[in-house]
Symmetry: C2
Subunit: 204 residues, 2 copies
């Protein structure tokens, strides 16, 4: 680790590694979400993010004018992509795969950060974050589920009336509720959700 000319020297942080562009940006996003999960949104400070990312506050403010802008972009970049809908030909295997992906996303750093922020902020201040979670997590998950249920209908495994927007809320609602009440969902919880709830609910 050497102090160098240019960006990091200008930011005035001795000992920071020479990092540029995407690498530095990623370290800042990671630091922002780590801080958010550790201390909550209200007490999240740009200073703490800078310290954790081993850069200067100025380097952060140059790119993001507010912590809202920083956290929104960090979530947008770090939340995993939904990927294509599972298509194993078997309804239970497809549902289990989707619920396991949902669990993994919920336990990931950006997933935990999203949960913290959505539970901390009231409706109005939470709107930009809710919009992002909807766009990046909820809607892709719902559309994958509708797609695999549709294939189940075609195979004669799923009731056509079960392919609706209330049914697709059941898995995320149950995962979040049980997370809140009982702590992080286990793989067994995911399997139970499929076997006790989703299959009986949608099967013909």
């Amino acid at each position: 680790m050497t102090t160098t000319s240019g960006e990091f020297a200008a930011a005035g942080v001795p000992g920071s590694a020479r990092r540029r562009g995407k690498v530095l940006e990623h370290a800042i996003f990671q630091a922002a979400l780590d801080e958010l999960v550790g201390s909550g949104y209200a007490t999240l400070s740009m200073e703490a993010v800078a310290a954790r990312a081993q850069t200067g506050k100025a380097a952060i403010y140059r790119r993001w004018g507010s912590k809202e802008a920083l956290v929104l972009e960090a979530l947008r970049e770090l939340l995993p992509e939904a990927g294509p809908a599972p298509d194993t030909g078997d309804l239970r295997a497809d549902l289990l795969e989707l619920v396991m992906r949902m669990r993994a996303a919920m336990l990931s750093l950006p997933g935990r950060a999203g949960r913290v922020i959505m539970s901390e902020l009231d409706h109005e201040r939470g709107l930009p974050f809710a919009g992002l979670m909807r766009e990046k997590v909820i809607e892709p998950g719902a559309s994958r589920l509708l797609e695999l249920l549709g294939r189940g209908v075609a195979r004669g495994e799923v009731r056509p009336e079960a392919v609706n927007h209330m049914v697709v809320d059941v898995a995320p609602a149950m995962m979040l509720y049980r997370f809140k009440m009982l702590g992080p969902p286990t793989e067994q919880d995911a399997a139970d959700l499929v076997d006790q709830i989703l299959l009986p609910l949608v099967r013909r």
Copy 2:
């Protein structure tokens, strides 16, 4: 409204009505939950509660040593009793009655206060409140639901395997999720939850 000798004069609040014992206590509980819903737990102050209840801070501290103690007792006293399980002889009517009660409780002042505090506090600081919500709301609701499902099994309307603890989480999980995502649940939302989710899930 007259300033009187004794408790209220001692508290130093001019113009407070002469209220004693249970009446004053109820006004303080109500004020505490109003403040909580309005401004959140972190910024809730005993001073603001006293001002809203038109009493003195000393009168409050004499009874409750901390805001945690005050809010816990306010919730314990003001949360509605669960009442006996619905027993109309008809599964759909029983489920609808239970879900409508759940909705009413969620929209009531203590229900909104419970929601605010459970979403604001992290796991550790939330524990005493989670314990209270479990004891006063969740467990009574679950036991009423298990009871009415049991009668449904006896009538041949309900699958015996559906009478389990994961199934009883579905209604509160869905109500809370949709509240967060779409705002306060309507009567139509309650009916849809029964018709689209609960009945297909438990019916034989």
